[in-house]
């Protein structure tokens, strides 16, 4: 079977060198992603330390149910992503397509729920800026909390959108049979990216939603 041979780009000597290089490249990319989100986590830490009470109040304004459902949705999407990689390793071409589509659907559900949450915040004038209104104590510092809420979840959502775009391309590649048990690096690398974005949420959820859990 001719297609079972791995596709080796001209700059590499053999499939093994190619696989090692691609994998190292992806991990380096994820390291820079950690530093990117790191700046946000630093800012969050500074202001939470400075205004613990306001951050607790702000946290109580978030919708724990929707956030919790989203967390479950995202974790399940990581499972379907892992199953897509597993299917690729075994060369099950149809299964790759279906698991990738499942991941896209779950990712979209996450973004949909996130959109509903954002909508609620807009309606309640909790989006920072000139239209921000908060009747309780520490209004300005609560606004700061919401600044971090929107920037952090916004950056996370942007990464999800990009991830869904990449997954869509993978579905197409998988559908025309580009992947088989000797060549599935794009699926595996996208999997790493997807899990990373997932892990970012695993940190965001407790920091933003569970922080003021005294209801």
């Amino acid at each position: 079977m001719a297609e079972a041979a791995a596709i080796v780009a001209h700059q590499f000597d053999d499939p093994e060198q190619q696989r090692d290089s691609v994998s190292l490249g992806m991990w380096l990319f994820l390291i820079q992603e950690i530093m990117f989100f790191g700046g946000l986590f630093l800012g969050y830490t500074v202001y939470r330390y400075k205004f613990p009470e306001a951050f607790r109040i702000g946290s109580n304004q978030l919708d724990l149910l929707l956030g919790g459902v989203n967390t479950v949705v995202l974790i399940v999407s990581s499972l379907t992503m892992a199953l897509a990689v597993h299917a690729a390793q075994l060369g099950k071409k149809k299964a790759i397509v279906w698991w990738l589509i499942a991941t896209i659907v779950l990712g979209s559900v996450f973004l949909g729920i996130k959109g509903v949450e954002y909508g609620h915040k807009f309606d309640h004038h909790l989006f920072p800026g000139p239209h921000f209104v908060f009747e309780g104590p520490h209004a300005r510092q609560v606004q700061l909390f919401f600044s971090f809420y929107f920037v952090m979840t916004g950056m996370h959502a942007l990464h999800m959108v990009i991830g869904i775009g990449i997954l869509a391309v993978l579905v197409w590649m998988a559908a025309i049979g580009r992947f088989h048990s000797a060549y599935y690096a794009p699926v595996e690398m996208t999997g790493l990216y997807w899990h990373f974005v997932d892990i970012v949420w695993i940190f965001l959820f407790p920091l933003l939603y569970l922080l003021g859990l005294d209801r």
Partner: protein, 549 residues
């Protein structure tokens, strides 16, 4: 060397420059050598733009009165000078041009690990460039290249977001370049090329790439926060809303101080190559130079607070940052001492690249030592935001980075173009640049010491003599930069074919043709010796008893 080989040389029949013709063969190329040339053209344009703004600054400062331009215009001039030079010239110059061209060849590979990402990085750079260029045409930006809040968030009426996004995009191009280098150096070395046989140029770029990957994302998120702050007034950096403008400075310098080492480390890599080649002697202390690059990269992340001694951080933090900043002097001095020791009893020839290398050592030493003045808390309070600082970092960035860049460009130009440039003109321009540079910036040390603050368009009359000296030096320096532009372009057509190794240098890049073929080598080379075995060549030729050193 050069003279005995040129008569017989001709350009190879097939090489990367004539492999394909037409605009798309360049704009869609994945050949690292062609991408390096794309970068070369782009950064040259930005260098000239940044230079034009410097001309305006120096013209204004010719007289004490602020008469040529208004204060606001002057603010834009020095800001655009800084933005263009730092984000669009100094940071990409050596890695994206010389590193891109040379690293795959130096490790004996056919290309970088990810050629398409390499091309993408150039396009991302162009997008960033267009943002900055568009902002410039629309009216510029006046916050200083540092974009300090609250100037940039509350008070500036200029194109802050567009310019900052320009820096954001070039940052991503720089991350992609660094990622490509690290993977290539790890995974694609030729057989026999162990880590400690790598040229020191490669080590320097490895250290640079580490900074690019760890530091640049932080400026990216900082710029996003700044843009959001400016657009929506969300208050992260606004004390009126509970935010802290100093946090911006922390985040900014966490990247921008290591960025100084993104600019200087590749240049140090170039100097290591030049010194050993033109001293005809193996580098002294290979391991020390290699690890000092890594040490500078890592220490560079621990010293950002020395930019903030007078901006409200605690005295205790200031003391810690002061001590840590001094530590950077150790690996820097290790390099300078090792280069000097390499010269000792070497067989030195003063061709143009070597003149640049010698210039680098002197100017970098002055720049580095004056850095210690600024790292000292007590003296920094006096010197902070004066021309002393301006002179200090120009000695590092112009005297260091640009001298190294030009030295490297002259050294590898025969490899890149396949042709020799007129050496007399090259030596002459190196001399002009050295004289012009010192005349421009040495008076600024004195000005700063006497208390002249930076970023003002007018000054008291007693400072005029020194300022006139500086402006006169700048015009000499400008001419010095234009001469190579002319003769290097001239050499593309009329230069004598160089042959594979016009300098008699070691290293894999000199074993292939000039210009190299598209895949660099006809067959993958095998490395059997350490780097810079110049004495071995000498002994082979003339016998052991006359060996050098």
């Amino acid at each position: 060397m050069a003279s005995e080989s040129i008569t017989e040389q001709a350009l190879p029949k097939q090489h990367y420059l004539n492999a394909d013709y037409g605009i798309w063969s360049w704009l869609l190329t994945t050949d690292h050598k062609r991408i390096a040339l794309l970068y070369l053209m782009t950064v040259t344009v930005f260098f000239l733009l940044g230079g034009a703004f410097a001309v305006m600054v120096r013209l204004e400062l010719l007289t004490p009165a602020g008469d040529l331009v208004q204060a606001e215009t002057y603010n834009k001039m020095f800001t655009m000078h800084g933005v263009m030079m730092i984000f669009f010239f100094l940071i990409p110059a050596i890695p994206a041009v010389l590193g891109n061209f040379l690293i795959p060849i130096m490790v004996g590979a056919r290309d970088l690990a990810f050629p398409r990402i390499n091309l993408l990085s150039w396009y991302v750079f162009i997008v960033g460039g267009l943002f900055a260029f568009g902002a410039m045409l629309a009216g510029g930006v006046d916050t200083g290249w540092t974009f300090y809040t609250p100037y940039s968030s509350t008070y500036a009426n200029t194109y802050v977001i567009a310019t900052a996004l320009g820096a954001f995009f070039t940052g991503f191009s720089s991350i992609l370049t660094g990622l490509n280098f690290i993977v290539t150096i790890h995974k694609m070395r030729a057989p026999g090329l162990t880590w400690f046989r790598l040229p020191l140029f490669v080590w320097a770029h490895y250290a640079t790439s580490v900074i690019q990957i760890l530091g640049t994302p932080v400026i990216a998120i900082t710029i996003i926060l700044l843009a959001v702050e400016r657009l929506f007034r969300i208050g992260i950096f606004d004390p009126a809303l509970g935010g802290d403008p100093i946090l911006f400075q922390h985040l900014f310098w966490f990247y921008s101080h290591p960025a100084v080492y993104i600019m200087i480390l590749p240049s140090m890599g170039v100097i290591s190559e030049l010194i050993t080649c033109f001293a005809r002697k193996k580098i002294f202390g290979y391991h020390f130079i290699a690890f000092s690059s890594v040490a500078i990269a890592l220490l560079g992340f621990l010293v950002w607070g020395h930019h903030m001694f007078v901006s409200g951080q605690s005295v205790f933090a200031g003391m810690i940052f002061s001590v840590l900043s001094m530590l950077v002097a150790i690996p820097s001095a290790v390099k300078v001492f090792n280069w000097t020791a390499t010269l000792y009893k070497g067989s030195i020839s003063y061709q143009a690249p070597m003149l640049y290398a010698m210039g680098f050592i002197g100017l970098f030493t002055i720049g580095g030592l004056t850095g210690l003045f600024l790292a000292t808390l007590a003296t920094d309070v006096h010197l902070h935001d004066t021309y002393f600082v301006v002179a200090h970092f120009h000695y590092i960035m112009v005297g260091g980075t640009i001298m190294g860049y030009l030295g490297g460009l002259h050294f590898w130009w025969p490899k890149i173009s396949g042709r020799l440039y007129p050496d007399t003109w090259a030596r002459f321009s190196a001399l002009v640049i050295f004289v012009g540079f010192n005349l421009t910036f040495f008076p600024q040390f004195v000005l700063g010491y006497l208390g002249m603050p930076r970023r003002y368009h007018a000054y008291p009359e007693e400072f005029q003599v020194l300022n006139v000296m500086s402006s006169a030096g700048a015009s000499i320096l400008g001419i010095g930069y234009l001469i190579p532009l002319v003769y290097l372009m001239w050499s593309l057509r009329y230069g004598t074919p160089a042959g594979p190794n016009p300098w008699g240098a070691k290293g894999l890049e000199w074993q292939t043709t000039s210009p190299p073929p598209t895949f660099n080598f006809d067959e993958t080379p095998e490395v059997t010796e350490e780097a810079y075995e110049y004495q071995k060549d000498y002994e082979k030729r003339y016998g052991k008893e006359q060996g050098v050193g």
